[in-house]
């Protein structure tokens, strides 16, 4: 009799234990998302596509899609859980400015300072953001969500997270994953568009080597750059302020250790945290929705528009430039701010048509201008739509 009681007690406990395991509430959606996470890991490890981003995001997706019983403070959306605490940096938007601090501390703006007209290419590529904004409105998204989706076209993960955290927090997971995925796919998406809009003759244009920039100019750049852009778009201060501050740490010459920390350990830590928590925020029930698919489609379109706008703008700009001063339109794609991948794409494509024409230094100009441009665009969207 006692044995029977013990067996039923054991059975009940085992049953309860089984209900706590992930197998009990595993759904098809979870399986799909885990496969997506594994695909990210595969692409990062075997194809070397943006491993610094895709490995944390891919593993984060797997973490976020292990089903569990709610109420145990485990999940990323459960108040007080460890993952939730780490996720606050994404939700409250304090990771993106810290990433921008690191980007500023590792970016050399000399290509841009020596040839300031390249800044305009960085502005032109922001057409992608607003093209996608219009399309998102047509897809039926409210204006604030359309703005957050459009920023994917800026090819700037931290900016996308920063803006969607404020304008459309419920779409943050889809927007962040979409932005980072397309940033990883820059070498795949951009070259066909660049080839489509350029002639063979244009692709072999040789640009004047950049002049040497003095340290004084490099110090002036972050200070004046911040004052000029922040006065125009104060809502972009968190991003622009940290970007230019990071650059000042690098260039002023007296804060070497701070610059090294900002571009080294600090940005690495934040990249790990942002990647893993953004990945974990893609829980199947929140992520596998028709809206997420629409966001992915719009993200791809915005990238394409941005690339095309950058290339076409260079061609248009060349109409006004003297022979010898012309710009190779293959650097137009670098106006999207995926640093330095899009500049690398310009360089590689340039080398395909002329093995001695290195465009990397030139492409870095619009590339870093794109970072400033997308931060300004984010500030405008935030100012208008929040």
């Amino acid at each position: 009799m006692e044995n029977q009681g013990f067996i039923s007690f054991l059975g009940d406990n085992l049953q309860q234990f089984l209900s706590y395991t992930a197998f009990a509430s595993f759904t098809f959606g979870h399986m799909v998302m885990i496969l997506v996470g594994l695909a990210f890991l595969y692409l990062a490890i075997t194809k070397d596509w943006e491993p610094m981003l895709l490995v944390p995001i891919g593993f984060g997706i797997i973490i976020g899609n292990i089903p569990f019983l709610e109420g145990l403070s485990i999940g990323v959306y459960e108040e007080g859980s460890v993952m939730n605490i780490l996720y606050q940096g994404v939700r409250l938007g304090f990771y993106p400015p810290l990433i921008f601090l690191g980007i500023g501390a590792m970016t050399d703006f000399s290509a841009l300072i020596s040839n300031p007209k390249l800044m305009l290419i960085g502005a032109a590529a922001q057409f992608g953001i607003f093209g996608a904004y219009g399309l998102a409105l047509l897809f039926g998204f409210p204006a604030n969500e359309a703005g957050a989706i459009g920023i994917i076209g800026g090819a700037d993960g931290p900016t996308a997270i920063f803006l969607s955290g404020r304008l459309a927090p419920d779409l943050l997971g889809a927007i962040a994953v979409s932005a980072y995925s397309y940033m990883a796919l820059v070498p795949v998406i951009q070259p066909p568009i660049m080839r489509l809009f350029t002639t063979k003759k244009e692709r072999v244009i040789r640009m004047k080597p950049p002049r040497v920039v003095s340290q004084r100019e490099k110090i002036f750049f972050p200070i004046l750059g911040f004052l000029l852009t922040a006065f125009l778009v104060p809502s972009g201060i968190p991003l622009l302020g940290m970007l230019f501050f990071g650059n000042l740490l690098k260039e002023c010459g007296v804060t070497r250790r701070l610059a090294e920390t900002a571009r080294g350990p600090l940005i690495d830590i934040i990249t790990i945290l942002i990647g893993i928590t953004v990945g974990a925020s893609t829980q199947a029930d929140k992520f596998l929705q028709w809206n997420s698919i629409k966001i992915f489609i719009l993200g791809a379109i915005s990238f394409m528009i941005a690339t095309a706008a950058g290339v076409l703008f260079v061609k248009f700009f060349n109409l006004f430039l003297k022979q010898g001063n012309k710009i190779n339109p293959l650097i137009g794609n670098a106006g999207v701010s995926a640093v330095p991948d899009s500049a690398r794409v310009s360089n590689n494509l340039g080398l395909e048509y002329d093995r001695t024409n290195y465009l990397l230094m030139h492409a870095m100009g619009p590339n870093v201008a794109g970072v400033i441009g997308s931060a300004v665009a984010a500030g405008i969207l935030l100012g208008f739509l929040s």
Partner: protein
Amino acid sequence: MRSKLYIYLLTGCLLFAGGQAAAQSQSDMCFNEILVYNIDDYEDDYGHKHGWIELFNTSRGTVDIGGCYVSNDRNNLKKYRIPKGDVLTKIKPRQHIVLWADNMPLRGTFHINFTLEETNTLYLTSSNGRDVIDSLHFPTGEGPFPIMDYITDDNGDHVVQKGSIPFYPSNNVSYGRLMDGENIGGDNGWAFLAKTTPSSNNVILDSEAAAQRFKQFDPYGVIMSITAMLVVFIALILLYVVFKNIGRASINSGRKKAEKAGVSPDVVAVAQDAPGEVYAAVAAALYLYAQQEEAHDIENTILTINKVTRAYSPWSSKIYGLREVPHKQ
């Protein structure tokens, strides 16, 4: 004295930032409206009428209030725990939830274990049971108490008095914020309202949210695109103009310095137009010539040959190091 002032300012800024940084968490919830005597007002799912408390999510993100506590006793903040695991406890951005103050907690998640007649103070506490997210002290007793309402006329939206009540609690009269989640107007944002609005906005103004207005006036995003691109271009054109001139000034000052030093203007012109590679080649040649250990790169494109000096910094000073061996007296 001055440094102290800076410390206070910095602390103030940090505290302010800390306060601001609480968005989209349980701390974004607040009391929004209450009704003590519900005679023929809002009914619960059982068809009964009781007093109710409306909570409002002030943030733009979903907030889960599961695990939060509601109480009417300062010494017992954990009087009623809103159960976790109920999907309905996830409050959408800028949305409301009504708790029934009927002292019948067995009727469901949103039926709390006290009534509003007991005391005139309410506390909303976060799931850690310690941090009071919001508290409310509502007036009771003899009045008269004015009843306020928002109206929209040629002067825009503003609050006007619409009669009064002789005492409170009065039947079917709610006490709520004049604007959802705001502390503007009335008694710290609160007043007796002209109509009860459980589970909906206390006031619906004609003025819409900026995003809605944008979509209304600009359904295809054309105006937004043109305006925003104009601003982006202006920002970067400004940078272009400034740095074009700074570049010129820098070249000119370099030329003047070289001329002062007796270098021929032709050599200066050639040197300034020379691309970075030329400098790199010259520097590399000098390096090879001198074969000095001190020569080192500080940047990607420029090879500089400098004497290495180690600048003193208290941060790296061993005097202040934590691992300093204690001195024997």
